[in-house]
């Protein structure tokens, strides 16, 4: 049978070469680097213990723990698996999870951040030096001394700005080549004009040179850029760690032998074994095995579906009870999981592009500054007929109006607010997510996996005969099926004594049977027992030929779900529930949480369409969802949140990731976001006030480098301090 299933060797030369190359690839990767996530390490003793045991492993070349990232990176010989090292560390009492080195490689060297930091350091160093030289000039250095100081300043400033100012020059050029204006255009113009006019002044032994101002400008703006970059880099690396925790491995059956391979190496027509609890790596058809599959991440249904040979399964579904062998029909990008990306693309095109507050400010500001500066140049040129004076004044206007405080206004606040939210377990992935979150007036929740934890809970324990519960618990004891686990848990909590049931066998996909006092007892799905299927999630117990007893279940609420919904409603937001699940459980949950608007049996496209409809009515929608069926809706919404337990695709599509299992921080996050946006507006106002005072002086030709330096530093410092008030 397996011989038939192997791909034809002559299909293409590359295919023929691939199987030879394939076994080497994973080995090499494992030889190079293994990464482990160690979420519970916290002290120097932890570092020492973990490193000692890892380095003690004979095949480990070197191991290094990073306490900041709570991660261990290990260089080991080929053949060492991450799993055995994780177990080794686990033996010390520390939690250890394997991280996919391929996903992490991008975070390893944060080149852009380092580059910015280097430029910031150079600009800082140069501006300090030039500022000190300028102090001498301001306090009355004259003639040759002043000229000497100006020339030294120029010698420091020119190369520094050529190096440190590059990010601004690049951005400005990119905007100009597309015939647009951004914040970087006036910045670049101000820096260049200040340098040119200062050089000219210096060469004529003039009094005013703006080298210090140009450098301080670069320094403050780079500080803003760096803050901005740090905030996003921290969020990005945390998000990547979440993805890296799901190592994409699969078990391929080759000639009857099971081999663990990376999912990327699977081909169409491969036989793939999926163990109970595992997630389908590919689309395909079941070849052998019977089980039940949980589709909740794809469709939102909570009811497990029977899986038998011949049935099609799609990637992302979870196998519950028995091992399944699947023949792959689509792998990688072709799977239905990835085809959802098309829906996401459609939703993305419909999304109204959000203009951030800083862009809005830049739109007003950039042309205004240019016009003002040009007008003062023309005015002074006509009035005095002196090109040098006119140029000097134009440079002064640009320098003084330059958006130092504006450049810091947004990043300082977002850094402070994101840090706050991160402590509460929220990861802000998108730069403008906070501003958008502040506008939210409508919240849409997904049901399965978002408001509910995805684990069932027995509901009718009180109505059931004691004996039935004891029997069911004994039958369910050996099974890993979620409903069976729920029965065992409920029985143990109620203190039911177990009864002796013999010959317990599990029939994957159907249920469990056993012998009790010589009679056959069965616990399983309605069709197998011969009972009338219930509308809610249920399993049935039958003793001999007696009437089946129904055990009904409800999905357990996620922690903080009720509190979050209530807090959101109290703050005047409309709350909706949209689910792909059947009507009965959705209605039950909605009434339990006091949500009056709900939608059941929604297809992924329905959800996205409803959200777009709401947006067209002028609502700013926050979507909270976790499944594959939510991705389009997450993208269509104004801003979106997904829990850390969500599918990778959903996390990628959403702006904010909830790290803990608790939903409660959502309401508080909305308030923090509103406060942060208020601070940003405050900051813009502060910056404007400084400009209103300083600009008339500059236009009138009264501005000196001292005034420019004072205006710049005080406004930047006030803005940063104001940002720290975000709680």
């Amino acid at each position: 049978m397996t011989a038939v299933l192997r791909p034809p060797a002559s299909a293409c030369p590359a295919c023929a070469a691939a199987p030879v190359a394939a076994p080497e690839a994973p080995v090499e990767r494992e030889a190079a680097q293994i990464a482990l996530s160690l979420p519970t390490i916290h002290c120097s003793a932890c570092i020492a213990k973990v490193e000692r045991i890892l380095n003690g492993h004979p095949q480990v070349r070197s191991a290094r723990v990073n306490l900041t990232l709570k991660r261990a990176s290990i260089d080991a010989a080929p053949g060492v698996t991450a799993q055995e090292l994780a177990e080794l560390v686990g033996g010390l009492g520390y939690e250890a999870h394997e991280l996919d080195a391929g996903t992490l490689s991008a975070t390893a060297s944060d080149k852009a951040g380092r580059d910015l930091l280097m430029r910031l350091a150079v600009a800082g160093f140069a501006s300090m030096n030039v500022m000190l030289l300028s102090v001498a000039v301001w306090s009355g250095a004259e003639a040759a001394t002043r000229d000497l100081f100006h020339w030294i300043s120029a010698a420091i400033a020119l190369p520094t700005i050529a190096f440190a100012g590059q990010p601004f020059f690049h951005n400005a050029w990119a905007a100009l080549s597309k015939r647009r204006l951004n914040m970087d255009v006036p910045i670049t113009l101000a820096i260049l004009l200040a340098l040119v006019s200062s050089l000219w002044e210096t060469s004529l032994s003039g009094e005013h040179a703006y080298f210090d101002a140009a450098l301080a400008l670069v320094f403050f703006l780079l500080a803003g850029r760096y803050l901005d970059h740090r905030t996003r880099a921290v969020a990005r690396s945390a998000a990547q760690e979440l993805s890296a925790l799901e190592v994409p491995r699969a078990i391929r059956v080759e000639n009857g032998i099971e081999r663990e391979v990376m999912q990327a190496e699977l081909n169409v027509d491969d036989l793939v074994l999926v163990r109970p609890g595992g997630r389908m790596p590919v689309d395909g058809e079941i070849v052998t095995g019977t089980s039940e599959i949980d589709r909740s991440l794809l469709t939102g249904e909570t009811l497990p579906v029977l899986a038998q040979p011949g049935q099609a399964v799609s990637a992302g579904e979870v196998n519950l009870t028995g091992p399944l062998t699947i023949r792959a029909s689509a792998v990688g990008r072709d799977t239905s999981l990835h085809q959802m990306a098309d829906l996401v693309a459609i939703a993305e095109s419909g999304r109204s592009r959000y203009t951030s507050l800083s862009d809005q400010a830049a739109r007003l500001y950039a042309p205004g500054v240019h016009i003002l500066s040009a007008l003062s140049f023309i005015g002074w040129y006509l009035y005095s007929g002196d090109l040098r004076t006119a140029l000097n004044i134009a440079a002064a206007v640009l320098i003084i109006t330059c958006p130092c405080a504006l450049g810091l206004a947004v990043p300082a606040v977002t850094t402070a607010a994101s840090g706050r939210l991160f402590q509460r377990g929220m990861l802000i992935k998108d730069a403008t997510a906070l501003e958008r979150l502040a506008q939210v007036d409508t919240v849409v929740f997904d049901k399965t996996g978002t408001l509910t934890a995805g684990t069932p809970q027995l509901t009718n324990l009180a109505d059931l005969p004691q004996q039935a519960v004891a029997l069911a618990a004994s039958l369910a004891n050996g099974s890993s099926h979620p409903l069976a686990r729920a029965i065992v848990l409920a029985a143990a909590e109620a203190g039911t004594a177990p009864v002796q049931v013999d010959e317990v066998t599990e029939e994957p996909g159907f249920g469990t049977r056993g012998l009790w006092q010589g009679r056959q007892v069965r616990l399983g799905r309605a069709s197998w027992i011969g009972a009338q299927p219930a509308t809610e999630t249920a399993t049935f117990l039958q003793v001999g030929d007696g009437d089946p007893v129904a055990f009904t279940f409800t999905d357990r609420l996620r922690d903080g779900a009720a509190e979050a919904v209530r807090a959101l409603q109290e703050s005047g937001k409309k709350v909706f529930l949209m689910s792909g699940d059947t009507t009965a459980p959705v209605e039950a949950l909605a009434s339990r949480l006091g949500i009056s608007h709900w939608l059941a049996e929604a297809l992924p496209a329905d959800k996205a369409a409803r959200i777009q409809e709401l947006s067209e009515q002028g609502a700013h929608v926050l979507m909270v969802g976790d499944g594959m069926n939510d991705t389009a809706a997450l993208t269509a919404a104004h801003v979106s949140i997904s829990p850390a337990s969500a599918l990778d695709a959903a996390r990628v599509a959403s702006d904010i990731v909830l790290l803990g299992g608790d939903l409660e921080p959502i309401a508080a996050a909305c308030e923090t976001a509103q406060r942060a946006t208020r601070r940003i507006r405050d900051n813009f106002r502060i910056a404007t006030i400084y400009n209103l005072i300083a600009v008339p002086l500059a236009v009138a030709g009264l501005a000196t480098p001292l005034i420019a330096a004072l205006a710049m530093s005080t406004s930047s410092i006030t803005v940063s301090l104001n940002a720290l008030r975000v709680r």
């Binding site: 002290c43 120097s44 003793a45 570092i47 020492a48 000692r52 070197s62 290094r64 723990v65 990073n66 306490l67 900041t68 990232l69 380092r114 930091l117 280097m118 350091a121 150079v122 160093f125 300090m128 030096n129 001394t145 000497l148 030294i152 420091i156």
Partner: protein
């Protein structure tokens, strides 16, 4: 005021040494694990393979 001719280059040189030292620390990844490094110094064991 002739002393300036010596003092200015000297001060620039000293500042430059600091700047180069900082750039060296950035380039050699010394800010990758600030928390871990601050704890490692308390460790009794001699680290034969410091990161580098």
């Amino acid at each position: 005021m002739n002393v300036l001719a010596y003092l200015i280059p000297i001060s620039l040189l000293l500042g430059g040494v600091g700047l180069i030292a900082f750039i060296y620390t950035v380039r050699s990844n010394q800010y990758d694990d600030p928390e871990g490094d601050s704890r490692r110094i308390l460790d009794d064991e001699y680290d034969k393979h410091p990161k580098g």
